[in-house]
Each structure stands twice: as C-alpha cells, then as structure tokens.
C-alpha cells in the first residue's frame, strides 16, 4: 500500500481506538501505539526514506497531517477525561485504605535547614520567622542601607504590586535579616534566635545562582556580648555542620548592618583543605557572613519601638550583639557534593530519590 493510503488507514484506526479508550491508561496506550517512538505512524514516517526523492514531500505531508489529527484527538480525549468525574460518583466517605508505596524522601534543602536549626538549638537559640513579602524599612533602611547608597546595589530586588505602607515600598525580602528588626522591635533583650527562610533576588539562574533561595539568619543580643563570642559560636557551628576536623577562618568583610564584619571560610571538605577543583585550589570555601550588630541598627530598632509605643531597649551603650547569615543551598551543596543550584527547585525524581529518609 502506498504511504498516503497507509497514513489514512492508520489515522482512521487510531481515531477509532482513541474513541474507544475507556480509561486514562487505555488512552495512553493508544497514543504510544500510534505516536510513540516505536508507534506505527512514526515508523511509517521513518520508512519514507526508502521512497524516491520526488515522492517524499507529498508522502511526508500526508503522514504528518495524519499524525497531527491523531495527536489533536488524543489531547481532546485527555481533556475530556480530566474534566469528567471519575466513573460512577466516587464515594469519598469510604474509609482510608492504605496502598504500599515505595519509600519516600525528604528534600535535601529542608533537611539542611533543619540540621542548622538543630545545631543552634543546642546552643540555646529559639526560632523566629518573618514574612517573605517585606518592606523597604525592614529589609534595607533599618539595616543601615541608606537610600541613594551603593550598598543597595549588592541586592537586586523584586518589588510587588502592593501600595507603599508606613515601611515604604513593598518587596520580596532579599535576605532573612529583616527578621532581626521584627524580633528586636517586638522583644526586649536578651535575644537569641535563628530565622530560617526563603529569600529572593533578581539574578539570572545559572549553576550557582537562583532568584529564589534560602538562608538562615542568627542574632544574639544581650549586655556584654563580644566578638569572641561570635567566633566561638560560629566555629562550633561549622565544626558540627562539616565535621570535627574542619578548620574555620575569619577574615574582614563588609555588611552594612554589622561592624566589625567578618567573612567565614571553612576548610574544603572535598580535599580536607589541601586544594582541589571544588575550592579552586585554595583549600577553603566561603560559607558564612557575620559581624557585631551595627549601632545604627539598634538605633533604628528603638526608633521603631518608640513609634509603636514601646520603650526603647537597644541602647548601644548598654547592649551589644552579633549576627550572622548563611546560604542553605551553599551548605547543602558542600555537604552533599551537589554542583548545580538549580536542581533544588527543579525536583527531578532522579535528584529527589538520592536523599532517602
């Protein structure tokens, strides 16, 4: 039979089968039988290579047209099935009846955040939370990012279509640091909290950047808190997260809301600090940012407290504190050896299945 006739025959056959399919599985089976990689219409298309060159265009057009018709019919049947109720009216009040599912899994990012929380719980830290939709006051200004200042270039911000509030423009928070402001304006010292959460920055996705990612913030404020306490706590945390032999390095850095500011590097777990591809030969990986809370942040907190009718409680002459921030993806990538940050939010089954319960 010539290909054009064959295409028409297969199309008619396929349409009948689509119409007759009573369940989603049957429908899918029909689709695979005709349009799958080894399906009859596809095979017919491949066989056109054996035709004389003049005959190919017409034959190809006919087979493709047939394939398109069948594809359309299949989609319509699928949509109809999806919209229709399943079989005779399902009795949803039947008791639960368990099925035997293969083992499930927890997401590596959620588990990494939980691991970080656990280390801090061991140090007497409670958990604080804040909204993801924040305002300019709590995300920037109260954290000592003045308007018209280059510090703001460090975070490209998503803005949302809510009207300005008393905290200024509404945005998606670019770090978890606004929770520091919320905790201190609500509570008096001492403060000992971590704040895990999702943050957003305008950043083209690539292997090491995503516009949506996760951080854990930490804040410890009381009379007499010292820089050496910051070093002690964070050295302990790094050792617990990356293993007992981890070396921890503190070096000067810059954050608008801390002074002195420190960047904290850990010895590369892949090579135990000897130098490898992961750490680009340096033996160390940048891991956390931290510092002593800037007095301007304390002053901003007290201004907000006073405006809300609460008494000021954060006089920089009386209290001091340290704060830190860590990227959860970064910790997870180092701990598990994951090389592409996009995998976390893609949820490919071959990725998720690698992290058993």
């Amino acid at each position: 039979m010539n290909p054009v006739d064959e295409a028409a025959r297969l199309r008619d056959e396929a349409m009948a089968a689509v119409g007759a399919a009573a369940t989603s599985d049957a429908l899918e089976e029909v689709r695979v039988r005709y349009l799958g990689r080894k399906g009859s219409i596809r095979s017919l298309l491949r066989s056109l290579g054996g035709l004389a060159p003049e005959a190919r265009p017409a034959a190809g057009a006919a087979v493709n047209a047939a394939a398109d018709e069948v594809e359309r019919a299949f989609e319509e049947a699928r949509a109809r099935a999806a919209a229709a109720p399943a079989g005779p009216a399902e009795d949803v009040t039947l008791p639960g009846a368990a099925l035997a599912l293969p083992p499930g899994s927890l997401h590596p990012l959620a588990e990494t955040s939980a691991a970080i929380e656990e280390v801090f719980a061991g140090l007497g830290f409670a958990v604080a939370e804040g909204p993801e939709v924040e305002d300019d006051l709590r995300n920037f200004e109260a954290l000592h990012h003045p308007p018209d200042h280059p510090a703001r270039d460090m975070h490209d911000t998503f803005y949302v279509d809510l009207p300005d509030g008393d905290g200024g423009a509404r945005l998606l928070r670019t770090h978890t640091s606004p929770v520091q402001i919320r905790v201190m304006t609500a509570h008096e010292p001492p403060v000992r909290v971590i704040a895990p959460g999702r943050v957003y920055r305008v950043d083209e996705p690539d292997a090491s950047h995503m516009p949506v990612f996760h951080q854990v913030e930490g804040l410890c404020v009381a009379p007499g808190v010292r820089f050496s306490d910051l070093k002690g706590a964070l050295t302990h945390v790094c050792e617990r997260l990356f293993g007992g032999g981890t070396r921890v390095r503190f070096r000067p850095s810059y954050f608008p809301f801390t002074e002195p500011s420190a960047g904290i590097d850990v010895s590369c777990p892949s090579c135990a600090g000897r130098g490898c591809r992961v750490c680009k030969g340096t033996g160390f990986l940048e891991m956390l940012g931290a510092g002593m809370v800037h007095p301007e942040v304390f002053r901003a907190v007290d201004r907000i407290r006073r405006a809300a009718g609460r008494k000021p409680a954060y006089d920089p002459e009386r209290v001091s504190g340290w704060a830190f921030g860590v990227g959860v993806e970064r910790v997870a990538m180092v701990r598990y050896g994951i090389d592409d940050i996009r995998l976390f939010l893609e949820n490919d089954p071959r990725f998720l299945a690698q992290f058993p319960l």
């Binding site: 368990a98 599912l101 293969p102 499930g104 409670a126 949302v160 000992r192 000067p252």
Partner: protein, 660 residues
Amino acid sequence: MRTLLPWVREIVRLPRALARPEALRDLLRDKGGVDFEESDADAWVLEITPNRPDLLSHLGIAREIAALSGAKLRPPDVRYRAAGGDFRRLASVRILAPDRCARYCGAVVEGVRVGPSPRWMAERLEACGIRAISNVVDVTNYVLLEMGHPLHAFDLDRLEGRGVVVRLAQKGERIRTLDGVTRTLTEDDLVIADAARPVALAGVMGGEGSEVLPSTTRLLIESAHFAPESVRRTSRRHGLRSESSYRFERGTDRVGLEAALRRTVRLVLETAGGAAARGILDVRGRRAAPRPIRYRPARAADLLGPGAPPPAQHAALLRAIGCRVAGAAALRVEPPPWRVDLVGEEDLLEEVARLRGYDRAASTFAPIAAPAEMGRAYPDGAEARRAAVRRLRRALAAAGLRECMTVPFDPEAEVDAEAAVAVRNPLQAFAGRLRTSPWPSLRRVARLHLDRGATGAALFESGRTFHRRGAEVEERPYVAALLVGEIAPADWRRPAARADVAAARAIAEAALGSLGIRPAWREADGALRADACEIRRLDADSVGFLVDAEAVAAAVKPVRFRPLPRYPAAVRDVSLVVPAGRRAAEVEAALRGGAGPLLETVGLFDVFEMPDGRRSLAFRLAFRAADRTLAAEEVEAAVAGATARAAAETGAVLRGPAKG
C-alpha cells in the same frame, strides 16, 4: 578592578616576607577584606566592597599593604615646573551649588601637543582594560587607575567665558555627553557649565563641545569632590555609569584630589609638552569635613573580648592606617581623608580588630546564666507550628511521599488575579503572581516525574501561599500532598494501584495521627473536610490532601495513656446491602447511632459493587463493657439496634445473619 603588581610595587617597597604574590594576597585577604576573583603572577582582579573606595586604585592598594605590614610607601611623584602664566589670568571657577561640591581644583596647561601616549602608558591602560585614546585623555585615565581620583580635561579655548561654574541644571537644559547621547536634565542634576551651557555631567561624564581634540592646545584640568548621593542619583536617572561615577558615588578623597591633579599636570607635561600655569585654582564649597571620632580603647577591647589588643596599643594601630590620634583614656581620632567609611566608633573598632588579625581574637562562649536568657521564639506560636510541620513531613515521607520545594510563582493564567500579589519586575520564568494555591506548582513537578517515565507521583511540599487582603498580604503556611496516577507499583505479590481518595485518606490519617489528631471527616462539595485539612480529587488522575499549618498546630493532642481494657470485646460482622447513592459514612453513622453505648468500634472491611448500583458493605462491630464480660443477649440486642437504625435511615438491608 584589575590591579597590576609591578605598578603596586612601584608605590610600596615590599619587605622580603611579601615578595611572593601569594603572601601579599593572603595579607590582603586576611587583614584587608579584599576578595580575589582572579590572580596570577602579575595581575589581580579584585572585588572591593562598597565601603572601601580608597582601594580602587594602585595607590590605595599600596597604602593598605603599607598599613598592614609597615612597608614603606613611595607615593607617585607630583612635582612639576610651572613655566606658564598666572592661573588667575587664564581661567576661573565658581561653585554655585556649594552643598554638592566640597572642593574644585583646576590646573591650566598651555601649548600641549595632543597625540598618542607613550607605549608604557598605553600598555598599562590596556592591561587594566582601558582603551588608549590620546596622551591627554590617557593621562587622566592613568591617574584614575594610579591614584583613584577621577579627573576631566577640558579644551580651555572651547569653554565660553574661559572658566566653569559648578551648578545645578535648569529644568529642560540639555547636554550631549561624550557617548553621543543627548540628555535632558533636571534641577537635581549637578553640572559643570561654561558661560553658555552645561559642559559636563559632574562626576559622571563630560560633554561634547569642550572635550580634548587632536587640535586642542590649552587645557583646564578638573579635579573635584562631588557629593556621592548627587552623582548616584544623576547616574541612575540617566542610566549612565562610568569609572568616574562609580568612584564618586562611593566617596572620594577631598584632600588627595589635589595630589592627583598635580600628578596629572606632571604627566601631561611629560607626554604632551606645554607649559603649566603657576598655581592651581582651589575653590571650596560648603560641605562640612567629617568631625573627629570619640573612641574608647577600653570599651573596644571589652567588645572584642579575650585576644583583643590591649587598650594602650589601639592608638598606634589607628595611626598605622593614617589617623591623627589625640587623648589617652578616650581618644579623639581624625580618620585620613581617603577613608570615607570611618565615621563612627564602631568603624575604628573594626580597624583595630582587623589590623591585629581576626584570628588573634579568642573563641569564647558566653554562658547562659538563667533560663530567661534563652532565646524566645517569634512570633508566638511559630515554634509549635514548626514542630507540627516537622512531624507531618516525616510522617508523609515515611508513608512513601517525596518532599518537593517549588518556586512560589504561578503563571498569570492559573491564578485569580484579584486575590494574588504580582511582582512588578519579574524575571523570565520567575514571573507571574505569588501562588494562591499549592496545586499548580506540585502538578508541574508531577508532570516532570511522569515525563521522566514514572507511572505515578506521590509528592508533598511544605510552603506558603500568598493572599492579597486590601493593601496587605496574608502569608499562609501549609503542607500539601499530591498523588497522581499509579503510585503503588506492581510487585510479585500484588498488582499496581492508582491514587484515589481512600489512599489519600489513609496517608492523611497516618500523618495527622502522628500529631494525635483524629480528623472528623465530613463530605462537602465532593471533598472530604475536617478542621485544618481537606482531601479532594483534583482530576481523573490526581488526588490532593491539604493541611493548614496554623490550624493543625492548634489541634495537636499530646499522647495520654488510656488504661488497658479489663474485659474482652465481643466482635460481630454484619453484611448490609445498601441502595445506590448512599454514602458509606451514612451507613456507619446509622450503625453507631443504633448500637448504643456498648459499641467500641465500627470498621468497614469489605465493599462489593453489585451490577444494579447497589453495594454490599461488610462492617465489623466490636462491643465491650468496662465492668463485665458481655452476655450474648446484650450483644445481639445491640447489633439488632444498629442494623435497625441502618435500615431506617439508609434503607440498608441485612444480608444473612450477623456472624460472630
């Protein structure tokens, strides 16, 4: 910023300990806070944080190395012979916006020959990524890289009125900047202007009409200080960024700009010839110089903790970075003019700490003296909710579901526009609105799993939905589970099974059971609802189970022991034929109602569909009394009561005798 080591070595004489580039790099990283993006033997690409604009030049880096190591600084030579006329007769400068311009210095050079730069200068510029253009322009760029101050050269003969003013633009004034674009100015833009028109966007870019051309012979060279916020606003407003605006918006050295000017004149004379006028124009604006900072070494040492340098050493450390220090117990510190970031006592504390070395600070642990000093959770109730969600997640994973984390944006089409919050400046693929429902993102993941060859998907996510409430947004935490298709694969013991409401209910009850919650389900428009959770069939292949995290946290019941029963239960099975359309729950409720107080449990254990639409439902009833073994008559009476009520309320007919 590209930094050439040979150039740095000209400006600071390195001790032997710092001869190796790695040693220099370690010093700058460990004590200078300088980040290295790239480094090889002769050139570094440095990442300088916004608070250290003084490091944006070779002199700045050299100065930092000198401060950190005690090496001897050899600043560039700024001397030249002034063979020309008196500057006052050659050019004038006036500042009409004194709060935006702290100082304006100008130098005049006459009789220059504009031509190519010498090779050594062109090579250094190119190595730092700046194109060589002509000697005069190249010198200004060279000094920018060398000393960190942006300068501009005007063709003095093309300035109307032989001078410039520093003023705010008038609304609607225009300038064609050197990139060829004509810009309309606002009253907030600071400009350099001659008698007729603006000739430069101050601190950002020069204008056409007064720039140095091959025919230029007389120069007015500008070296000025412009207010950082002003330059930044102008730069943003016109979308114009330059090496110049980058430095001005971070803050420049109002004292060092004079040396930069002199260096420029010296190099112009060297490369383009000519004669420099005697003296330089130096006009001041009205921006107060920074005040001395009060610094308390003892307090600083306490704040740093053990390992801090003793208070007596702090003054010397501050002098090492160029501060003038007076006083004893409390110091009065004047930071050097290139350190625009040293504003408060805390900034000086950081200097003392880093010069000493952060590694020298001890690691201590401040003990918690009283329970009241432990952290308090925020907001109230968050900790209870997190604990509940944690347990739910574990129960769901144990039941065989895979945890996902998804991007919380849904494309416009899938979301109710009025109830959803939109992002004003979306990124492609991260666009649309913040999700108001957990299902679209989970369904996308299920689709991915099916496309990868799975026969089904069992997923869950703990996240937030976002709901517009007037001018506000309500963020609602949830846990959602989605079952799609064939979730239980076939094995040698049993066939495959597809997701349905009953399977979802079993999982939901197990998960909520781990919190001590037994949901009281009721049917409501096709879904099963209980306080805090809902199970719903989403389409022919998918069933979803949604938990409101706040509500469920409030419903958690702690485990409470119940004494073990002392007397045995009596068990009877009844098989009832139920008319079409009657719900299993209705029949069960009727059996409970009619059975009386002795009934302990009712369980449906078999369902048989009959061809005419009726169903046969088999229930196991268990009866028990707390204080005695039940007599047969009591049990039979209770069973009869149950089946009678079932018949009356649902038309269910007993099929055969009750089996005990």
